[in-house]
């Protein structure tokens, strides 16, 4: 018996490998391979029916690029065995419905596409497919559901039409027209407030930044005007027309999409990123136009290769460069455009920034004769159009470019960007160079940066990242804290305790007036000054030295800074010492947040303080704000997860106690043993609530400060009769937009509060608009 089992296993494995590999490079033609495989499978349908159904369905979903190969195979099997065809359709319909229910939107789209392509193979009737598409239109027209849900149904239909449009046009022209009219009506009514928030560039020249459904609709309209003739999709079933024509067709059962659930997550809308047209790649094959369906199909295919191989950068690069239609298109340009589209995707790229950076490095290594040039051309284009790029993408471009340069010996023709030297330093172009250099310096060192830039670019060389310790400078004697600072240095060297530090600081006078009613506590800014600057200066040798200094004297920090004002004072002193070392400030703040020396709200208020206005438009300030918000968000997510887990444990323990008491003891999972008490769960709830209160407070502070400085600017420009639209204004409103988008999932919860408290109707429309765009994102 055992031998029988293993024999069957062997056959199953062989079938699986045959099915998986059909369509790969082979000595014989695809048609004869398909024919052969169909015969093999037909013979095994008796014993291995279920297995074959499962493998075929898996292939259909997991290798969407081979859709038409597998539909042809199913078509051939259906022609030989009508019942099997029917069972396959059932299986696929179930997959489609399950995917919808599980919110696996791409899997659902691939299942739908497969069903549609089965019409081409005479497995399904055209009219029953149209019925399904009509049902989907009805779903899209439902009221009181999020627009993202409705949009997805339309997107699913439109993205299926390239496969089956021609067949429907030939067989059911009127019904197809009716479907298209319904879609057009839907699209005309649709709100597109989110569009501006998701654009990479504010400007539409030279390439319009189209909303994804609008773009696909234009492509489908163009396809229709070409009588649905499309040149990209391989259609192996055409060779089997005479066989397939004789097969009987099935009808799809009535499929009603599952209703909306509040817990459903739908894909966010996006903007189709375009940076090239055919004039950018004058040699070789022509780049298909913006509204040709080929452009959509190529992009979708490249995106799916990236999705499939993003964990293996070398394989990913190899598969991208091995694109099946590479001779018909300017492949390098298509790849670069698609990778930047992912990197610049708003609100966030689907994979890590560095995943794309690593992919581009591999592509350059694998295709050194063409790829680096195309990438350089792309960089040049991105730089030329940087004036209207949104700030999130600006940041990502800086991060990518510095990383890329550091992998290629920092070689770049900086001379080409000389014209920037005459621009205002707040202009995005000089700012891009400056910020890129700061990042390059983090990856290398000061001397190296000096060497890579031409002499006339010296204004872009960052300051040397050194501590500025005022108590060791000339003239320090006149400062009120110098004596204590020097004493402190001696104590630190003698490995003193925190109590001894407090003792050294004890007699420093408090410069603040005794009866300041505005202040909540009696902290002493001079003590903080002497302590923070001296301690951090002593730890200045490296991050590790600083970190261990902080943790060793954590107690002193807590004693000296028990209120927010005092915590801001710590930050101010850290800045005074380290203003030339942005990366140090970032890691110090990160450390002080983690060790709860400073609160998130203190960091936010410090960033918006008057004395920081010189730093306000620099990238690192926003790096700090975002890491602060993220820290808070992570904390909330962690507490929420722990609470849910405890509740579940409690419920499980209760139900097992009441129901089956004779249950086997060792069956119980060990974690059930530590059943939480009601009180424990209650305490966790309180903790989460308190944390959510902090989070809400943090967002309120940030948005209120934004509103204040932006309104002030707008009013002042208005009274002075100046143009409000300055570089400062664009950076600041961009940063506001970035806070909304980068943390949209967390901010969303507080939308109603934000609307009633801050983003009220009397606000300047420019500022209010940013809020409205955000609200419409998940609308």
């Amino acid at each position: 018996k055992r031998r029988r089992v293993s024999e069957n296993q062997e056959i199953e494995d062989r079938l699986e490998s045959l099915i998986l590999r059909v369509g790969e490079k082979s000595t014989s033609s695809l048609e004869s391979n398909l024919e052969g495989l169909a015969s093999v499978l037909e013979a095994d349908l008796g014993t291995f029916r279920l297995k074959i159904l499962r493998i075929l369905t898996d292939c259909a979903i997991r290798m969407p690029e081979k859709c038409t190969i597998y539909t042809t195979l199913v078509g051939l099997l259906n022609a030989k065995n009508y019942n099997f065809g029917g069972e396959f359709v059932e299986y696929m319909v179930k997959t489609f419905k399950d995917s919808l229910k599980a919110c696996k939107w791409n899997a659902a789209r691939y299942a739908l596409r497969f069903l549609a392509d089965l019409v081409n193979c005479h497995v399904l009737s055209a009219s029953s497919l149209l019925q399904l598409l009509d049902n989907m239109i009805d779903t899209a027209n439902e009221d009181n559901v999020p627009q993202v849900r409705r949009d997805w149904y339309i997107f699913a239909i439109l993205s299926t039409l390239p496969w089956v449009g021609r067949e429907l046009y030939e067989k059911k022209e009127a019904a197809l027209e009716h479907l298209l009219v319904s879609i057009e009506i839907f699209l005309n009514k649709r709100s597109k407030k989110h569009h501006n928030a998701l654009r990479v560039w504010a400007s539409d020249t030279p390439h319009p930044q189209e909303e994804y459904l609008d773009c696909l609709w234009s492509q489908i309209r163009k396809l229709r005007s070409d009588n649905w003739a499309e040149k990209h999709i391989p259609r192996p079933y055409l060779a089997f027309d005479s066989t397939l024509c004789e097969a009987l067709q099935h009808n799809l059962p009535k499929i009603i999409p599952p209703p909306h659930q509040d817990s459903n997550k739908y894909p966010m809308p996006w903007v189709v990123f375009r940076m090239f047209d055919y004039t950018d790649c004058p040699e070789g094959p022509i780049l298909p136009g913006t509204h040709s369906i080929e452009r959509f199909l190529i992009e979708e295919h490249l995106h799916s290769i990236i999705e499939l191989y993003h964990l293996e950068r070398k394989d990913c690069a190899a598969h991208l460069l091995n694109f099946p239609y590479k001779l018909k298109i300017p492949l390098e340009y298509c790849i670069v455009e698609v990778i930047f589209a992912e990197l610049f995707n708003m609100p966030s790229p689907r994979f890590l920034d560095i995943a794309y950076g690593a992919m581009l490095i591999e592509l350059c290594k694998l295709q050194p004769s063409t790829m680096p040039q195309v990438l350089a051309q792309a960089t040049e284009i991105l730089f030329m159009r940087i004036d209207s790029m949104n700030v999130s993408c600006f940041d990502r471009l800086v991060i990518w470019f510095s990383y890329h340069l550091s992998n290629f010996q920092f070689r770049w023709s900086w001379e080409d960007w000389e014209s920037c030297l005459s621009l205002d330093s707040e202009h995005p172009k000089p700012k891009f160079i400056k910020e890129t250099m700061l990042r390059c310096m983090r990856l290398s060192y000061h001397q190296r940066i000096k060497e890579i830039l031409p002499a006339n670019f010296s204004c872009y060389i960052p300051e040397k990242a050194e501590a500025e310790y005022k108590y060791a400078k000339e003239g320090a004697a006149a400062l009120p804290g110098t004596a204590a600072a020097h004493q402190l240095v001696v104590s630190f060297r003698q490995k003193c305790t925190p109590e001894e530090v407090l003792n050294v600081l004890k007699d420093l006078p408090n410069p603040r007036p005794d009866d300041d009613p505005a202040s909540e506590s009696r902290f002493n800014p001079l003590k903080i000054d002497v302590f923070v600057q001296t301690l951090l200066n002593l730890g200045s040798k490296s991050f590790s030295h600083s970190f261990s200094a902080i943790s060793k004297f954590h107690y002193v920090f807590k004693i000296l800074a028990d209120c927010e004002e005092a915590q801001i004072c710590i930050l101010r002193n850290m800045f005074e010492l380290w203003y030339n070392h942005q990366q140090m400030m970032i890691v110090l703040i990160d450390k002080m947040l983690k060790t709860q020396i400073v609160k998130c709200s203190a960091v936010a208020n410090w960033i918006f303080a008057k004395e920081m206005c010189q730093e306000f438009t620099k990238n690192y300030i926003w790096e700090i704000l975002h890491l602060t918000i993220k820290k808070m968000n992570k904390h909330i997510i962690k507490l929420g997860g722990e609470l849910a887990e405890a509740r579940e444990k409690l419920a499980r323990a209760e139900s097992s106690e009441s129901e089956d008491e004779e249950e086997d003891e060792d069956k119980k999972k060990p974690e059930d043993a530590e059943k939480p008490t009601e009180e424990m769960v209650e305490r966790m709830e309180e903790k989460l609530e308190a944390a959510q209160g902090d989070q809400k407070n943090l967002f309120l502070i940030i948005f209120q400060r934004f509103i204040m400085i932006l309104s002030e600017h707008l009013v002042r420009c208005d009274t002075d009769g100046r143009d409000y639209n300055t570089h400062w204004y664009r950076w600041t409103i961009g940063r506001l937009q970035q806070v909304f988008l980068a943390h949209h999932e967390q901010v969303q919860k507080y939308s109603p509060t934000l609307e009633t408290l801050l983003f009220t109707q009397d606000l300047d429309p420019h500022v209010l608009e940013v809020f409205h765009q955000f609200v419409s994102l998940q609308g």
Binding site: A355, I399, S406, S444
Partner: protein, 101 residues
Amino acid sequence: SRGEQDKLLRLTTTLYVGNLSFFTTEEQIYELFTRCGDVRRIIMGLDKYKKTPCGFCFVEYYNREDAENCLRYVNGTRLDDRIVRTDWDAGFIEGRQYGRG
């Protein structure tokens, strides 16, 4: 034992990083490695006698997934013009930072 070692390697969030330049600083490593996630600590490998960096370090992440991404995207790329090599490490133990120099 071998089994325990394997288990540690399956769960660890620490990476051994090799082939660094002797002049590469903790700051530079931090900049590159945080692009894959939050770093808990970096321990520079030091020459046993001179106590100066000698071309390797340990990077510990908070999450396993971030360390996995580091192996995927940082391993085999450049820092300070040298190809960085990363590998799983069973976890840093005091004393292991001293290399042969």
